[in-house]
């Protein structure tokens, strides 16, 4: 006798759906508010500006989402951006592309270093990447001698400011990164490994998964994406500014990931949600600035949102 005691289990899905939709609802509400009350909001120039401004956070946040999915965290991303930015003026003499390759390689190296510390040296991710946060920006400042360097390279400028069919190149890069990350997480063995490690690392090890290699890869990807963000920021500003580029971006990226519905406890990831989380933070800042409130207000609102997002996650996992 087989008792097929199949119980309906739709109960957990409704609150999850509301939580998943939360970021979209918030974005929609902010758009409606701005369309109604903010002058010059619904102009192509302004909308494009919003998108371009969100690029660095969005790219960094995608890498951060993968790291967080393994139950880790990467605080070194801002310093990696600075390191990438500092290297460009040093190598631009060999051409723009060699300089960019060097910058990206530096990002990869930073990521490999954090990955090694976490996976092989067994350090806590927050400590390992905190170390690299300090070391990375220090190295960047030494390399750049602490100065801002203006860059007048037309190719670099185009990377930062040109558009294809009206869509800025940097925005296209974000979309490309997100698509690749999304497909990798959903459709590949790599993605499954990442989620398994975040969900239960011992179980992943006992299932024979290459846990350490996967962790190193994830941090390497995060480092590489941070370098991409550093290059794009430098290109858009037309200047390498290692003192300030990427400063505190790790916090915005973590916020974007969490607000987008990826739990800090690992095992689950939302790539599109992460992009939306980044966009939401950008819209909040824009709204507040355009209504002549100080930037610090935007930070407080962001803080409230991250607390709320984590609170909602907590409620769900306790249920």
């Amino acid at each position: 006798m087989t008792l097929q005691a199949v119980r309906p289990r739709d109960t957990t899905k409704l609150p999850q759906r509301i939580q998943a939709a939360g970021v979209y609802i918030a974005i929609a509400a902010l758009l409606v508010f701005n369309l109604a009350f903010t002058p010059h909001f619904a102009t192509v120039t302004n909308l494009r500006l919003q998108l371009v401004q969100v690029v660095p956070v969005a790219i960094v946040a995608v890498g951060m989402a993968l790291v967080i999915a393994t139950e880790g965290i990467d605080l070194s991303v801002g310093s990696t951006m600075a390191l990438a930015a500092a290297l460009i003026p040093l190598y631009i003499g060999y051409g723009v592309w060699p300089a960019i390759v060097v910058a990206l390689a530096a990002g990869l190296a930073m990521g490999l270093a954090s990955g090694w510390l976490v996976a092989f040296a067994g350090m806590q991710p927050i400590i390992a990447t905190l170390g690299l946060l300090v070391a990375g920006r220090g190295l960047a400042l030494v390399l750049a001698d602490g100065r801002l360097v203006e860059l007048f390279d037309p190719t670099l400028g185009a990377l930062g400011n040109s558009a294809v069919l009206g869509v800025p190149v940097s925005v296209l890069i974000v979309i490309g990164v997100a698509v690749v990350a999304g497909v990798a997480m959903r459709r590949t063995a790599f993605g499954r490994r990442v989620l398994a490690i975040g969900g239960n690392r011992s179980a992943a090890t006992l299932a024979g998964l290459p846990v350490k290699r996967t962790l190193v890869t994830v941090y390497a990807v995060s480092g590489l994406l941070a370098a991409v963000a550093g290059v794009l920021s430098t290109a858009r500003q037309g200047a390498s500014d290692p003192s300030f580029v990427g400063l505190l971006i790790e916090l915005s990226a973590i916020t974007a990931v969490v607000v987008g519905g990826t739990p800090l406890s690992g095992g689950r990831v939302r790539i599109v949600g992460t992009l939306m989380g980044a966009l939401l933070m950008q819209l909040i800042t824009a709204t507040i600035i355009q209504h002549n409130l100080p930037d610090s207000t935007a930070r407080m609102v962001q803080a409230a949102i991250i607390v709320a997002a984590v609170y909602v996650q907590r409620g769900r996992s306790a249920a």
């Binding site: 119980r7 289990r9 957990t12 063995a189 499954r192 969900g199 239960n200 179980a203 006992l206």
Partner: protein, 517 residues
């Protein structure tokens, strides 16, 4: 008759339209140990949660000392005198034993600071009363699980409880610790405390309890004095089966005759040593053979399994699988890095002891959990093939009769038995030569237990070599073709065929003990 300490009257509880409890009544009297048994999903946990105020009944009423009560939560229930001891020890491993005993109600001195001297002295008194030997200043986490469990019991009792609910308190205890717990329960009964004893182990029902209530599918199917029932009848009521049917199949579901293992050698582990846990353990497993590892908690059973599977490092020793094992007489083993990944590639599978923390990945679906170890075989250029995944998952869900609403259901929503089946499926879909099963039926319901035991037989009949670890002697005795008895990290006896009996195993363990100076 005295008035009941707890009286549950016709309670019903639904979760999202699903009936978890349906008109359940239960009286718990001072001075009695009352067994609550039933398969997983029968409603035992829900009933406990209704009594302790975690949930409130939709219908019916819970009375405590003849007053209808609706506790706001376990804390309030505890303050009123209903203590609960959970299956997993929920104490703070980093704090001292005394700190745990008095967690949240530490004795203070005149300045309002914790008085460690008084706390330690009182803690020693408490431990002495329950016959526990442990240094009260040591961190709890350094002690064995069994002692931790006893301390959890002592903590629950030192709060002036009138009712103690124990949820499978013996699942991680050694036999002599169980003895101690039984003594403690006797002590409680003499103090007129009511004990509600939730268990999967029928032995304990007869040993510990005076009355028993059986739940099935949210209803009470039997309630009465233990003396008036039999093991067989209890099993039958829990399963909803005929007594005759159970008798025919035995208490475990292993078939009675095991063919003498004749298959070729598939696993040879030699002189595995990992000080101080393992001291030169050698294990051979042949195709179609079930080799049982028996021994007390901490005797090296799990450590042997983990060493063979590469999950824990060893100081020395070798593991060889398949043709390599057969060709190895005297050959020097190749030195290589041994890891779970390497073991799996060579054809060893393992279902670990701790299902929750080392087995399932709760957030992932049934499908993702099953295919986890088989990922390399299901991908082309790194991309997963849905078709091949689904075919594999479908095969094993059907074969093991995994009850899930769909392969997309999250594993954490499944019952313990079904989670265990998911783990078995994860290893079986690799078609291993040897399967290591560490406590494959611990903490799962009787039905799933029977299915898994029958499955082990079936797999062995098909030529799989099985290394079976179980703390239930009965399971090792009935399931194994050969039994290795471990003690203090070494093999102290080997039993074959008709030699295998609970008595002989216990003798081997005891004899091993006498050899010690």
């Amino acid at each position: 008759m005295t008035t009941a300490a707890v009286r549950v009257r016709a309670v019903s509880k639904r979760f999202a339209g699903v009936r978890a409890l349906d008109g359940v009544s239960l009286d718990l009297y001072p001075g009695e140990a009352h067994a609550l048994v039933g398969e997983n999903g029968a409603g035992k946990s829900t009933l406990i949660k209704l009594i302790t105020g975690v949930h409130h009944p939709d219908e019916g009423q819970v009375c405590y000392l003849d007053e209808p009560v609706l506790f706001a939560g376990p804390r309030e229930a505890q303050a009123a005198g209903i203590s609960t001891i959970y299956q997993e020890v929920n104490l703070v491993p980093m704090r001292s034993v005394a700190g745990n005993l008095f967690l949240g109600r530490e004795p203070t001195n005149r300045l309002g600071l914790i008085s460690f001297r008084r706390m330690n002295r009182q803690a020693r008194e408490v431990l002495r009363r329950y016959g526990i030997t442990a240094d009260v200043r040591r961190p709890l986490g350094e002690l064995g699980l069994g002692v931790q469990q006893m301390i959890a019991v002592a903590r629950a009792l030192s709060t002036d409880a009138r009712v103690v609910i124990m949820d499978e308190p013996t699942s991680s205890l050694e036999p002599r610790e169980v003895d101690r717990l039984v003594e403690v329960i006797e002590l409680l009964r003499r103090q007129r405390i009511a004990v509600l004893y939730v268990t999967h182990k029928l032995d304990e029902v007869f040993r510990v309890c005076q009355r028993v209530t059986v739940l099935r599918d949210g209803r009470v199917v039997h309630s009465g004095p233990v003396a008036e029932t039999t093991r067989l009848r209890l099993v039958a009521t829990m399963l909803g089966r005929d007594v005759a049917d159970v008798r025919e199949h035995g208490a475990t579901s292993f078939s009675e005759q095991h063919q003498a293992a004749a298959g070729e050698l598939v696993l040879r582990a030699e002189a595995l040593t990992r000080r101080p846990l393992l001291d030169g353990v050698s294990v051979d497993v042949h195709a179609g053979e079930v080799v049982g590892l028996a021994g007390l908690l901490g005797s090296g059973r799990t450590e042997t399994a983990k060493a063979v599977f590469g999950a824990d490092p060893v100081d020395s020793g070798s593991v060889r699988v398949g043709a390599e094992a057969r060709a190895s007489a005297g050959a020097k083993p190749a030195r290589r890095r041994w890891s779970p990944a390497a073991a799996i590639r060579r054809g060893i599978g393992m279902v670990p002891e701790d299902r929750g923390s080392e087995g399932v990945i709760g957030e992932l679906s049934v499908r993702d959990n099953i295919v986890l170890a088989a990922l390399p075989r299901l991908t082309r250029a790194g991309f997963l093939s849905d078709r091949r995944q689904d075919a594999l998952v479908d095969t094993f869900v059907k074969r093991l009769r995994i009850k899930a609403s769909s392969p997309d259901q999250k594993v954490r929503e499944l019952s313990g038995g079904n989670q265990q089946k998911v783990l078995l499926a994860r290893m079986l879909c690799l078609y291993p030569k040897v399967l290591i099963l560490d406590e494959p039926t611990r903490g799962i319901d009787v039905g799933a237990k029977a299915e898994i035991q029958a499955l082990i037989d079936e797999l062995a009949a098909q030529g799989l070599g099985v290394l079976l670890i179980s703390s239930e002697l009965e399971e090792v005795v009935e399931g194994s073709d050969r039994v290795l008895v471990l003690r203090d990290g070494a093999v102290v006896g080997t039993l074959r065929g008709t030699e295998i009996s609970e008595d002989r195993i216990m003798q081997a363990i005891a004899a091993g003990g006498e050899e010690r100076p």
